[in-house]
Symmetry: D3
Subunit: 269 residues, 6 copies
């Protein structure tokens, strides 16, 4: 039985407690979704990717990865294809807010004071914001005022240089990256058996008017469910993205967290 | 890329849709918790076990397993050691209710009409009840009135005969089985690398008065966190339990669900 | 006008205040339901019984009985016949949680610090748990940290010996006791004019599969609404149950509460 | 065992069902509070009075009285003395709204279509309004559109003539009647053993500025807790009030409800 | 750019901060509605009037007027014509409660400690009460215990003398004043271009039974939407009302608030 | 009294009804905030601007402007300076969601079927999404399925060409435009008396790391509260922006809405 897994839930409680208490391991919480990602990728891409980033960063800084959120906020047409798509299973805003609020408070109750939300589903962003605010407030009411939460989406750590390198023909923008080169390359690097690039549909990036309409207009979403073509995705690009984002996130957390000496050593190693 | 995984989230959406639409695959939703399970087992026992039962049953009846709920309702002292224990990370009742309600409604929106909640954490039970009631009500308001939900906890399918066979010295009751012979044997059969039987604490079954006290009295919970000793757990017992419960659950779902011809054939094979 | 009623609501406020402030009377809150109990008993059995236990125990230990909760959580098929039965009028889970939370907090605001929830409706159990947790949390936020709540269901105080004595032909289990020997005997001992034993339907104990189905399958519930036959109920059995449970509950509360000297004297008398 | 009690909860379910189905008995729901009523009356005046009015009216029109709401909305200083007073135990607004909403919906589910809310606690008024609106909306979503709810407070049926007769020295207004002549006279007529008129404090009617202040200014509430003197209360006045209000309410419900022929006959008798 | 507007939202933040911090300006929050007011007045009468009273009083006592609440609680038939009327756009009770709670807490977070709710829509009253209670509670949990909130409706400051003067033929009561002499006169004095007295419908005051019925009975509401005739409204009466209410409210706030020396001077000037 | 105001609340109900029923006027709902906008602009910039865009567009297409939302979601550090800033008064996420949900449903109840949310505060965006989804769902439960909602933020209609023209030295991005050239220019064009450009602080655009930290780090926000310098703002730029956005929004709504013939004529004129 492992006593040094980066995954908190793989530990027995005494080992978990030692990590949280003495090593002051920060808690990294991956947030994903169950959302269609085209014909060529499965429905849990948004869970697998932030969980892997969380794992890598946890190993670097001595953190612990919490069980991931497997369901996220409702997919939106202009960034995720829309919640009407088959396979997309989402939570109400309030449900997501309350679930993350609860989990943050519970970890803090055990003594954790440093948290990183590792988001993998764009639509979660603002409900994370609200959840963190509510959790901090209730912790404050309980006299716990020294909690710090870093909130991030892994793609925000892709540098300008990397974008230029990966999208030599021009970057369509994160909004339409859904199921495109970024996610597909990462999946190819990490879980190639879960990708069927040959099933991917090649199409021009989706283009939307500068507003949203509800109920959604299904014809706005490409039939494939992806918002840009993954055809230029590759395992190599995935490895570059993995490295760049892991490094960026690890640096951010080292900058923000009061890591224990042990964690710092491990991090610096 | 697999097109016939029992795990819904491993499918691309067109494959998922085909399964739900044509094969009328029922959806099996595992509900667990992040909860201490003594010195000898990790914190996600209650997720791993129902997920595995769901997987086995899904393969038998042609169903699909939804992503598991990794967090559950607050651990109670007399059946789970208590929510004050390190490593136990729980949801408010209302949060769990709303999350399961949301997920049921979303799957139904895609066309699924048959659901099984596969519970692995006793404390979830009544919040599942409420979630199902609220989901059915809102679906009814949307004109969807033909949904059927089977709610079960896997241990309720352990037969009297099996209990007699596995507990020759007497069965302490499910209530104090937390971290005991049942769960440990199942984990030994499925994930031996996640169990350290040698770290298990041998103690008499916890004994509680016929009432609860809040805030909890920590001295009521054995220091180990388990409520009965796992020392008589074994891989063999785990296999027996796996078989008995899988068979029982599969039969129940075959009895209750209108499985498609294909699924029936597969189930009968 | 009485100044020493065990029922808090029968007191004028100065008398109530004296009891709570000086005698440190614990508050006992009966929780019931409006639920069918077969052809032979009225709909408020689950209110009358815990209220009477609360009254008797309050007299023994110097406590005060709060007004009862006349509505409870939704009746379940396998323990209460089901919420589809005529006459059963229930609350949503969240409503019950919030109502009990509010009432606990209000009594604590007046200075009470010791509470016993006397439950008479099985389905209420987990929503009581949640209500108590939320109330303690909000009281904590208000700086009140010395509150203690004992939660109990009166039938859990029926001893093994009593079961053997009352059910010479074998005990069907509490789950199917709904409207059976226990409740009917207690009602015969306390409110014989509200029972028509001759209208009771004699049938074998209901038998259910090890799972629940929603929407309920009405055919699972015996047509009578009771889950086991009350024909062996008697006033004498009711008196035995009254004594055994009252004694057990009173002892539990004496063990747990810091009763005032006066209350102790009264309790010891 | 009674089969014709006006109290719904005293019936067995088949008798209840017959009344609701065939006789189309309207449901009368008394709403009260647990609230101090001075030195001379107990805390449940606001439950006892509307319950008795409901009982009398139910007998006249063939209705059924639901179990009363024993807790109400927070007492306000200018009409109930204030929620800071000892003995006053109140619900949050949302809790009261949801509880009444739930109960209305449940009775409607059994087939009842006509309801009267018989209020005995002024502070409940607007939360009743909201509860009724929410219940009607959810019933509408369930396809039930023929429900009618009459909402009333019993004192609104005291006629001008009666006021002139009962308050020969001038009527202080309902707002400050809290614990005064009206309620005390009714209690003397109905429950004399629960009143100690000799303990009543005689004081001028409370006088308040035309605004409220929060947190309350305790000095605004007379030390007695009553807002006007009950010294002119009498059993005779209570009987007059009982008659006038019962008659007024019964007429209102006869005007508004489609009573069955049997109920009409009974009502006309 | 103004630095001394009575409207908080017209200030830049440094000017706002100076007013709140140093001058200890109380915050006045106008609450209105979007509600039909007959053929002769627009839908925002209930916003315009309390905002103007707030402005006048703020100028007198050195306070700041918060942005008004433009939507209020559901219009009721017996005081506002009913929520079924065209043009009436209302909030759920809980929404209004939470919105006012949030706003109060935010202003308190900046340092404000004295608040006046200036209500212009009768139906808001009890939801204001609840909002203030919830806000004070959460502020208390945050350690802020010195907040004072005055809650008022402007018409409660119309003196008996003024009523006698303005309604020489008898006062129909505030309940049926909706769209009548009071509101119309005030609008004529303040916004004559928004009133078309010639379109006003002259009719006897609406008369209602002493109870409410839901769903509303549209025939109870006069076809005009007003509950009494505005024909005797005049600009002169409006000016009298403006003066009387402004003076009354200003005095109340001076009595209740710890105004800064500067504000007192300005108020006394 | 006007009968053709673009502001719905300035109409009497018969005129409002005629516009909604016959002319099928779409409803435009401006959403703003009370949020600091630096030293040189007042706190209600985010209300004034979308209200003016709504007014202009309403005049073009024959729509009606609803009363604006004067409070919005919590200001965020990287796009609005942060909710810790003085003068910023915000709503909880759930409050905003519920308020907009309520208002949409009410307008739809009167017969409106076409809505445009005109957002002026970036932080509102995702709570608008949720509100619209909840409103559409509840309307659907009420059998109203033909509602269409367009959601937009006015700055999304600034074309690439305009950006190039207005920001000759490079566009810092919308995220840091808070209080910068866009908003200041618009305010100069519309409400010059509310702007003090000489008080504006000139500073480089704020630069943030690719993540958020909670509680906020106040040192991240420029002391001025603006995120980029407004010094290049001008009335001329404001006029250009007004024209470009008004035209863009009007075109979008003409494309999406089934405007009545009259409205089309007016729009085409």
């Amino acid at each position: 039985m492992t006593t040094d897994s980066p995954f908190a839930a793989e530990l027995a409680w005494p080992d978990y407690l030692a990590r949280v208490r003495d090593a002051k391991s920060p808690i990294l919480i991956p947030l994903g979704s169950m959302e269609q990602h085209g014909h060529h990728m499965p429905l849990h891409v948004d869970v697998l990717l932030p969980t892997e980033f969380a794992r890598r960063v946890a190993l670097e800084i001595g953190g612990l990865v919490a069980p991931p959120f497997c369901y996220g906020y409702k997919s939106q047409q202009k960034c995720g294809g829309g919640n009407h798509m088959p396979g997309t299973v989402s939570l109400e805003g309030a449900t997501l807010v309350n679930a993350l609020r609860d989990v943050l408070k519970e970890f803090a109750r055990h003594g954790s004071r440093e948290f990183a939300i590792i988001n993998g589903h764009f639509e979660n962003s603002w409900f994370i914001t609200e959840a963190v605010d509510l959790a901090l407030r209730e912790l404050r009411w309980d006299g716990i005022t020294d909690v710090k939460v870093v909130v991030l989406s892994y793609w925000d750590f892709v540098t300008e240089e990397t974008i230029a390198r990966l999208y030599p023909d021009g970057f369509p923008g994160w909004a339409v990256e859904h199921g495109g080169v970024l996610e597909t390359s990462l999946m190819l690097a990490l879980h190639p058996q879960l990708v069927s690039l040959e099933r991917a549909v090649d199409h021009a990036p989706a283009s939307f008017p500068p507003y949203d309409v509800y109920p959604v207009k299904p014809e706005w979403t490409p039939a494939s469910g992806t918002l840009s073509s993954p055809k230029h995705a590759s395992k190599e690009k995935g490895r570059i993205l993995l490295d760049v984002c892991t490094e960026g996130i690890a640096k951010a957390l080292r900058d923000e967290f009061q890591l224990s000496a042990a964690a710092r050593r491990s991090a610096a190693a």
